[in-house]
């Protein structure tokens, strides 16, 4: 049996890697993928805590995170496509204004 703290520690490491990806990269697509890494790190912690407490609640929460992530990716990619159509470039540093 693997201790719960190992899973939570791994989840923390993965979350930090995701944060670094968001901070370092300039491509919005890669930033989105880093956000997915962070969401998955949280999911891992959810399931591990659920096992620790002997309850299914953790897994139910992961199910909702999955749905929210799907919606987030769809809307986010649509926004990126719209920005690309407008500007022909993809760099988050150039997108400092909310208006087109």
């Amino acid at each position: 049996m693997v201790p719960t703290s190992w899973y939570v520690g791994l989840s923390a490491v993965l979350f930090v890697i995701g944060v670094l990806g968001v901070l370092v990269r300039r491509n919005p697509l890669v930033i989105f993928m880093s956000i997915e890494i962070m969401l998955n790190a949280a999911n891992l912690a959810f399931v591990a805590f659920g096992q620790q407490h002997g309850s299914v609640d953790g897994q139910a929460l992961v199910f909702f995170v999955l749905c929210v992530a799907a919606a987030e990716v769809a809307v986010g990619l649509a926004i990126i496509v719209a920005i690309f159509r407008l500007r022909r470039r993809l760099s988050v540093d150039e997108l400092s204004l909310m208006r087109g």
């Binding site: 719960t4 930090v16 299914v56």
Partner: protein, 167 residues
């Protein structure tokens, strides 16, 4: 070293390695392929923790649908040029490393504080479709219905966002 622990370390190395690869590789397509490996590894972790339904959902929704969506967007946008030019914010970007290290230290201190050191539950948690379904349609019925509204709103929003305006 029991088989479970050996499996954990193999999967942990795969998960961390693919995540680091995603952050470091310049080509977004390579990043998307690393993401598929990462998500599949997470699915294997769920399987190891006896969450069979989540493992299946992870592979279908994440490694299937979301990864395909990413690859599709990359193919449509043909990016990769934006990170080849000179970086005006290079000094700020190096700040990310100490910030990430600090975050890791904070999380490690939280873990060491003994907050999570209770004995694990003796009974095993059911992870099959029956257990999750029972939970979703009793205790979590209202959030479940709200989720369907969220997905519908996302669907409509995406269509509205990407629709070409006809003059």
């Amino acid at each position: 070293m029991t088989p479970a622990i050996v499996t954990f370390w193999i999967l942990a190395v795969l998960a961390v390695g693919s995540a680091v690869g995603l952050v470091l590789r310049r080509n977004p397509i390579h990043g998307a392929l690393f993401l598929v490996v990462h998500l599949a590894t997470l699915g294997a972790f769920f399987l190891q923790m006896r969450a069979e339904f989540l493992a299946a959902a992870q592979v279908i929704v994440y490694a299937g649908a979301i990864a395909v969506l990413f690859v599709f967007a990359i193919m449509v946008l043909i990016p990769g040029r934006e990170e080849t030019g000179p970086d005006p914010l290079r000094a700020q970007r190096w700040l990310a490393v100490p910030v990430g290290g600090l975050l890791l230290i904070v999380l490690a201190v939280m873990l060491r504080s003994g907050l999570f050191r209770g004995a694990p539950a003796t009974r095993t948690v059911p992870g099959g479709v029956a257990a999750i379904g029972l939970e979703l349609f009793t205790d979590y019925l209202y959030p479940f219905e709200v989720t369907s509204v969220l997905l519908l709103a996302a669907l409509v929003g995406v269509i509205a966002l990407t629709k070409r305006r006809t003059a």
